[in-house]
Symmetry: C2
Subunit: 437 residues, 2 copies
C-alpha cells in the first residue's frame, strides 16, 4: 500500500526539526519521504523525481502527524482486572487480588484481554507496547492478528517460567522480522531467588542482551532488598552482571544517587509509570534528576489493574504535574522533553530504533492529532497543547507498520470491538462469579 | 420538548440509589420521571398513568446516564492563554504573563473565548460552571447563546470592579430564573485591601449572601497573610464576618486545623483544583482531612491558562491519585465519593440545588457515558471505571436545561466550532503578535 498523507502539520521528533507544514509518504510498512511544503514544490519540479501511484491519499486538514506513542511498560491482558481491586497498597493488591486471578488464567484469556487492551492503545495513539505478562504467546497472537507492534519481555520469577522456556522464546520471537520481538527480563528482585537471577544474568551474557524488570517501585521493596542483600535493587542487579549489556527498569520511584550511577554507567533506561505510582501511593519518581544525569526516561501506562487505563495523554500530564510537585517547581520539565519520552525514548528503550521518529527509512508507526477540537485551540504552542491539554479524543488516526488501524473513531483490526467486549465480558463472568475475588 | 431516554444504565447520584437499568423522562427543562425498568412496567399498566407524546426518543443502548459534571471553579475566557505561559510559579505567571494580557481584554474577547471554553466543557460532560473573570457579561452572553448553565462570581479586587458594580450585577443576574446566576466573591486576600474586603462583607450581610474566593493556593500566600494580619486567610476572612452567610473557597491547598474549623463551623465549601495545583507546583490539598471533618468538597478545573485543559475526568483521577500520594494510602478516597464531588457537591457549592441529581422535578442537566469503548470494559464497577479510566472520549451526550448541546461528537450551540476556532485564532493573533508577551 502506498499512502500519501498531505496538508499536515508534522512533528518528526528528530532533534532540531521544528513543526512544519508538509507531507508524509508511506510505501508498505515504511516512511519514504517527509518533505516540508517548500522542499516538495522544489523537488516535484525536478526531472528525476519519482512518480508514485497512490493507493490512498488522505487530506490531513492541517492536523498534526507525529510518531505514535510507545507504551514502554504494560501488562496488556490485565484489562481483565480493571476496576476489580482498587484502593489497596501494592503488596496486598498483588497477593490478595491479582495473584489469585492469575492462577485461573490460560493463554486464551490473555489473548482475548490483550485484544481489548489493543483497542484502548489504538484510541490513545499508542503504536508499540513493551509487554510483560503470563502466556506471552496469547499477547503475541492478539498483536499479530490486530496489527499492534509489541516487544515482549519475559516476566521470569520463582513461580512461573523457567530459564529454558525464556531462552526458547527469545530465539523464537527474535528470529524473523515481524511485529513481535522479545527481550530478556524478570518480574522483580523480590519475586526471584538470587540463583534464578544469576541464571538470567548468564543468559544475558550468552546473548549479549539487555535485561528489564520492575525496580524500586515502593519504599518497602527497596528496604527489604537492602535488608536481604545489603544493596538496593539496582546495585544488587548490577553486582550480578545483569546489566552488562544494558537494559532498563520500570517504575524507578525510590532511587538514590548510587542507583542513578548504575543506570548512567550501564546506559540503562528508566521507564516511568506515574499514573500507577500515584494511584497505588507508591511515590513520585525523580524524573528531573534522571534527566540531569542524562539517564534516558521513557513512559509506560502499567497494566489496567493498577492504573486503571491505558492512556498516554494522562501519563504525559502526570509526568509533568507530579514532577512539578516533587520539585516544587512549575518549570521542572519541558513539554517537548515529555513528548520525547513518550515517543523516541520509548522506542530506544524497547530496541525499536526504526520506530522512533518520522523520517525516510523509518517504520510507518504514526498518529494524527486532531487540532480542530476545543482543547487544542488556540494554537500558541502545539507541543504544550498536546502534553498539557491533550486527550485520547484528539487521536484521529493511528497507523502501525503502514496500516491504518484506527481512524475517526473506527477500528480496523479484523474483528468488531462489540465482539471483543462481548467475549471479554463472558470470560470475566466465568472467572469471577462466585469466586470470592 | 419532551424527550425520552430509554434503555439506559442510570446513576442518579441520590444517596442509597444504586446504578439501575431504566429511563429518564424530560419535559422542557425538567426531569419528570426516573423509573427503573420494573417500576416502569408496573406503573405503565395502571389506569391513570399519563400518556406523553414524545418529541424525541433516544435509545441509550445500555450506556450510562448521570448528572452532568459541575466545574466548580473556572475562568472560562482564559482559554485565550492556553499554552501561552507554562513552567512558571504562580506569582510570576500572574504578574509577567497573565495580567499584561488581561489589560488588553474587552468584553468581546471574553465572550469569544468563553464560547471556546464552552465547547470544551460540553465535550467533557460539564453542564454548569462557576466562573470568575473579567467582563462577566461576556461570559454570560456566551453561556446564554450556547445554552451553558453558569454561576458567575465576582472577582473583586483592588484593580478591577467596585462594590457598587458588584451589587448591581448581583441584582441584575439573580432577578429572574435563567441559565445565569451570580454569587458574591473576591479574587483573593492578597489582591484586596482590608477596606475593600470589609465592604464586601457588608454587602454579604445586606443580602445574607455567601461569599467565594481563591484561598491558600500557595504556601507563600498563607505566609504573607500571616505576616500581614497575624492570621491565615480563612481565619482572617472569617474575622471580617465574610462567611456569616456561608460560601466557600477555591484551591484550599495549604490549610491547617484552624482553617478547617472555620470551614466546618461556617459550613463552607472547598473547591479543589488538583490539575492546576500540580502543574503550578502549588501543592496537594488535604482532601481526606476535609472529608473526615465533614467539609464538603467540589471539583474545578481552574482556567486553561494554568491547567491547561477543562477536563473533569483528568481532575477526578487527580483527586484520587494525588490524595493517595499525599496520604501514602492507595485507599485514601472512594470512587463514588469522587463522583459525588464532581456532581452533587459541585451543584451545592454553586447554589444549584435543582441540578444536583437525576430525580423528578430536578433540572435536566445530564450526560451519557459511552460504556461501549475499550477503557470502560469489562464492567466490574462502573463508578471506578469512570473515575479511574474515564476520558472525555466517553462523553456521548451532554444535555443542559433539557437541551442536547453535544451528541456523538457534534455540537448544537448555534454556531459551528470551526467558526469559533477561527474567530479565536484571529483575536489571539491580534493580541499577541509583536506584544512581547
Amino acid at each position: 500500500m502506498n499512502i500519501r498523507l498531505y496538508n499536515a502539520h508534522i512533528l518528526t521528533m528528530e532533534k532540531d526539526r521544528e513543526i512544519f507544514k508538509g507531507e508524509v509518504w508511506i510505501k508498505n510498512e515504511k516512511i519514504v519521504y517527509v518533505p516540508d511544503e517548500e522542499e516538495l514544490q522544489r523537488e516535484l519540479n525536478t526531472e528525476d523525481f519519482p512518480k508514485i501511484s497512490w493507493d490512498r491519499e488522505i487530506d490531513c486538514e492541517g492536523n498534526l502527524l507525529m510518531p505514535g506513542f510507545k507504551n514502554a511498560h504494560t501488562h496488556s491482558a490485565m484489562t481483565l482486572m480493571r476496576s476489580l481491586a482498587d484502593g489497596m497498597p501494592l503488596d496486598k493488591w498483588l497477593n490478595e487480588k491479582i495473584f489469585p486471578v492469575e492462577e485461573k488464567l490460560t493463554e486464551e484469556e490473555v489473548y482475548q484481554f490483550a485484544k481489548l487492551a489493543i483497542l484502548e492503545y489504538l484510541s490513545s495513539g499508542i503504536t508499540s507496547i513493551f509487554d510483560m505478562y503470563l502466556f506471552p504467546e496469547g499477547t503475541a497472537r492478539a498483536c499479530m492478528e490486530t496489527g499492534m507492534r509489541c516487544v515482549l519481555v519475559s516476566g521470569l520469577n520463582d513461580f512461573v517460567f523457567s530459564i529454558d522456556e525464556i531462552e526458547e522464546k527469545y530465539n523464537k520471537w527474535n528470529q524473523k522480522k515481524s511485529l513481535i520481538s522479545y527481550k530478556l527480563g524478570c518480574h522483580a528482585e523480590y519475586t526471584c531467588s538470587k540463583e534464578l537471577l544469576m541464571k538470567l544474568s548468564a543468559l544475558a551474557h550468552k546473548y549479549r542482551a539487555p535485561v528489564y524488570m520492575h525496580m524500586s517501585e515502593t519504599a518497602k521493596e527497596v528496604r527489604e532488598c537492602v535488608n536481604k542483600y545489603g544493596m538496593t535493587p539496582a546495585v544488587f542487579m548490577d553486582s550480578l552482571g545483569m546489566f552488562d549489556y544494558g537494559g532498563g527498569a520500570y517504575h524507578c520511584v525510590h532511587f538514590n544517587n548510587e542507583d542513578m550511577d548504575v543506570f548512567r554507567r550501564r546506559r540503562l533506561h528508566v521507564i516511568t509509570n506515574p499514573g500507577s505510582n500515584a494511584k497505588l501511593a507508591s511515590g513520585v519518581a525523580p524524573i528531573k534528576d534522571f534527566l540531569e544525569k542524562k539517564i534516558p526516561v521513557a513512559i509506560g501506562t502499567d497494566g489496567a489493574a493498577s492504573n486503571n487505563c491505558l492512556d498516554m495523554f494522562r501519563e504525559m500530564f502526570l509526568v509533568a504535574g507530579l514532577s512539578n510537585l516533587r520539585e516544587m517547581d512549575a518549570a521542572s520539565l519541558d513539554a517537548m522533553e515529555i513528548l520525547q519520552m513518550a515517543t523516541a525514548n520509548g522506542a530506544k528503550a524497547m530496541g525499536l530504533t526504526k520506530a522512533d521518529v518520522l523520517a525516510k527509512g523509518k517504520l510507518a508507526d504514526l498518529i494524527m492529532i486532531d487540532l480542530h477540537q476545543p482543547n487544542m485551540q488556540p494554537i500558541h504552542n502545539m507541543a504544550k497543547n498536546i502534553v498539557y491539554s491533550g486527550s485520547k479524543s484528539n487521536v484521529k488516526m493511528t497507523m502501525i507498520n503502514g496500516k491504518i488501524l484506527y481512524h475517526k473513531g473506527e477500528y480496523y483490526v479484523g474483528e468488531s470491538p462489540a465482539e471483543i467486549y462481548k467475549t471479554c465480558e463472558r470470560i470475566a463472568k466465568r472467572i469471577f462469579e462466585g469466586s470470592g475475588i
